[in-house]
Amino acid sequence: MPTITLSVPEDLKREMDTLKYINWSAVAREAIQEKVSQLALFKSIVAKSKLTGRDAGHIGAKISASLHKKYKQKYRGLA
């Protein structure tokens, strides 16, 4: 298995040293695996997307407009 080196802040290292029964290598491995899986899953989904940049801009503007409408209803003094 390849080996990597991680940098952590001094205070975090001190806390880690007090928790002697935790396998930090396994903790890091799981965190990295989860991150890789998340992005891989997301990219496998959007790889099939037919959305265009123009669509994204158009729908994004509509979402922002409806979001603002909600804020306008809740907070007085907004145009």
């Binding site: 998340q38 959305l51 804020y71």
Partner: protein, 135 residues
Amino acid sequence: MLVVIDANVLCSALLAKGKTADILFSDRITAIAPELLLAELERHKEELIAKSKLSDQEFVTALALFKRVVTIIPAREFAPYLVEANKLLGSHVKDTAYVALALCYSCPLWSKEKFLRKIGKIEVLTTDELAHRIS
């Protein structure tokens, strides 16, 4: 790096090509968004599904993944900045919540909206600029 994300950028993460998703899921940024943004994205689900041709299940999964990487900030936190943001925006008021959040956290806004660059009081970064900043 803390950065406010707007609806346009979130929708752009659903494009088959481009670096928006790579940046959004990277650990080099912490994306924050105003309360209700993801709920509004969900409300526009039918249109996003129709245009993207993703299945309902694929869209739901993508939204669930968004929820893991975008931190939603309660409106009460940045409410004191809403009126100021609203005034800065003139006729582009739809972006009020994003600008208020950026003012509140003194952090950049990740947006493609060209007008926002003119308001001056906050830093606005395009996807390319943000990619360069964190590389």
